[in-house]
């Protein structure tokens, strides 16, 4: 039995770590979505966090905790600087601006000497342990639960539902949007730092357009009505390709098909509280 467990862990530990990191990214994008911002900069913030934390370990020899803290701090500062001009935009315009920002970040990684150009950074020591990921996720979930039942969570939702009405309620919508954007960037950065310290290397490709869209897809797949949905959605999307391995070459096609079906038939995502409530009522009737 313990042998089986060991084999399982040896085979799938990276997958388990990945699911955890994706859950953090899901929370990060949920934060901006929850105040009505369609920001696709999360992959870039994750990249900045990953490079920062990796360089802190490799070049400065900092302890893991400090490297992670820097990996959260720098994306937060960058978000503060780019958020002030870009958060005037809304809807698809904000999405395009943040995608553009992501491309800029990717090209910077590709061309700077310190980031190792297209080769990226190699030989990052394995420092991430399962309990790190679990502990950070627990703290984040606790924070999200607290936020929901506070004036800050209500302000986010008010901005999402009707920004003009939110302003008329005395809410400084600009600073709340900036807060969501910066906190989201910090979470993505920490996720990037954790990721870099179990995949051993970072390269510009991992933080470009594809992962930016993947993060959003996971959130929408799960449902953006609560923070649980994006976490569930991103976890399933991380595991699905493994489960579909028996399909060999067709697995990505089936993966895409499942996505399309969910978006068509469950427009609120698979984690839809109202749907659950309806099903429960039907079950008891």
């Amino acid at each position: 039995m313990t042998d089986d467990l060991q084999v399982f862990w040896a085979t799938y530990n990276t997958l388990v770590y990945t699911v955890g990191v994706h859950a953090m990214l899901a929370l990060s994008i949920y934060l901006t979505l929850s105040c009505g911002l369609l920001s696709l900069g999360n992959a870039a913030f994750m990249g900045i966090g990953a490079y920062t934390a990796a360089l802190a370990t490799l070049r400065l020899g900092l302890p893991f905790g400090e490297a992670l803290a820097l990996g959260g701090l720098l994306p937060g500062l960058v978000a503060l600087v780019i958020g002030i001009p870009t958060l005037r935009l809304s809807g698809v315009y904000l999405a395009m601006a943040t995608l553009g920002f992501g491309e800029v970040v990717r090209v910077v990684f590709l061309n700077l000497e310190i980031t190792g150009g297209s080769m990226g950074l190699n030989g990052i020591p394995m420092k991430t342990q399962l309990w790190h990921i679990v502990a950070i996720l627990v703290v984040l979930v606790y924070g999200f639960v607290r936020l929901r039942r506070s004036k800050i969570g209500r302000a986010f939702e008010a901005i999402k539902e009707d920004e003009t009405a939110a302003k008329a309620m005395g809410i400084n919508t600009t600073s709340y949007k900036l807060l969501a954007f910066v906190l989201g960037a910090i979470i993505a950065g920490v996720a990037g730092g954790l990721n870099a310290h179990f995949t051993f290397f970072v390269s510009p490709r991992e933080y470009g357009f594809d992962p930016a869209v993947d993060i959003l897809t996971g959130a929408i797949f799960g449902g953006t009505g609560s923070f649980v949905g994006p976490m569930v959605g991103s976890a399933i999307l991380a595991i699905l390709p493994e489960l579909l391995r028996f399909l060999k070459a067709f697995r990505l096609a089936v993966n895409g098909l499942i996505l399309i079906l969910v978006v068509i038939y469950l427009p609120n995502g698979i984690w839809d509280r109202k749907l659950f409530a309806r099903l429960r009522r039907k079950g008891s009737a």
């Binding site: 924070g143 506070s150 004036k151 302000a155 539902e161 939110a166 008329a168 309620m169 809410i171 919508t173």
Partner: protein, 251 residues
């Protein structure tokens, strides 16, 4: 209390408001009437900072409101409702009203995340106050249902409760009776009178003349962006210019 001085707003070549000036004294219900397109809602949007005026000023007491962003105008003491209802449909009634209290709940991000006593104390105070405000508009029995499921008339009342939650010195109400039947309008008149008796100054836009004449102590009339009359309801009723603006000229 609220002083509007020479307010002008142009959209391109169209002059929507032209040098409008009047004062709303403290403690009264002040009516703002005029035909469709007269510029009434534009005036509300200028007072609350959603639109910027070309010239002119708005003062609340001694404080200059002109140029402040909308949330600062609210914090200065102007509460408002919207002509086209803008409640937060996916929140409960209680949450809607508590959004209005945003600036009056004294705790911050740290208080929330660390579950400090300030958070719990203020949330409790806020909830109690929100229930009280809902009861003013007889909505307290529905406090925990989703706002989107309310009837049209109830949604208008919820907007009033939410605006009161911002603790306004002057409450701007934009066409509260629009789409209401006579019985609902009657009930609403009673509730607005009650709010006024509690010491709120009210500036009211309304089309229903019976409601305006019955409620307001003073009335200003706008027509094509120009203030054509200002005075007590009895004077307004007999003013030939007002009658012409509403009913047209004799042929």
């Amino acid at each position: 209390m609220l002083r509007i001085n020479g307010l002008t707003k142009q959209f391109g070549g169209l002059r929507v408001l032209d040098e409008v000036s009047f004062q709303v004294p403290e403690g009264i219900i002040y009516g703002l009437i005029g035909p469709n397109g007269a510029g009434k809602t534009t005036l509300f949007n200028l007072i609350t900072g959603i639109l910027k005026s070309n010239t002119g000023t708005v003062h609340l007491g001694d404080e200059l409101l002109t140029g402040l962003p909308p949330h600062r105008v609210t914090q200065a003491g102007i509460g408002r409702t919207f002509q086209n209802i803008r409640i937060f449909r996916e929140m409960t009634l209680l949450e809607n009203v508590m959004v209005g209290m945003h600036d009056h709940l004294r705790y911050g991000l740290a208080g929330t995340l660390l579950a400090l006593p300030s958070h719990r104390r203020e949330e409790k105070r806020g909830r109690e106050r929100a229930r009280e405000l809902l009861s003013w508009l007889s909505l307290d029995t529905k406090a925990t249902i989703e706002a989107g499921s309310l009837s049209y008339g109830e949604q208008r009342k919820l907007e009033l409760a939410r605006a009161l939650a911002t603790e306004p010195k002057v409450l701007l109400i934009d066409e509260p009776a629009a789409g209401m039947n006579p019985a609902e309008t009657e009930e609403l008149m009673g509730e607005i009178t009650c709010i006024s008796r509690r010491g709120y100054t009210i500036l009211l836009i309304e089309h229903d003349m019976r409601l305006v004449m019955g409620l307001c102590q003073r009335i200003a009339v706008l027509n094509f962006g120009v203030l054509i009359a200002e005075g007590a309801p009895a004077e307004i009723r007999c003013n030939p210019e007002v009658v012409e603006a509403y009913l047209g000229k004799d042929v």
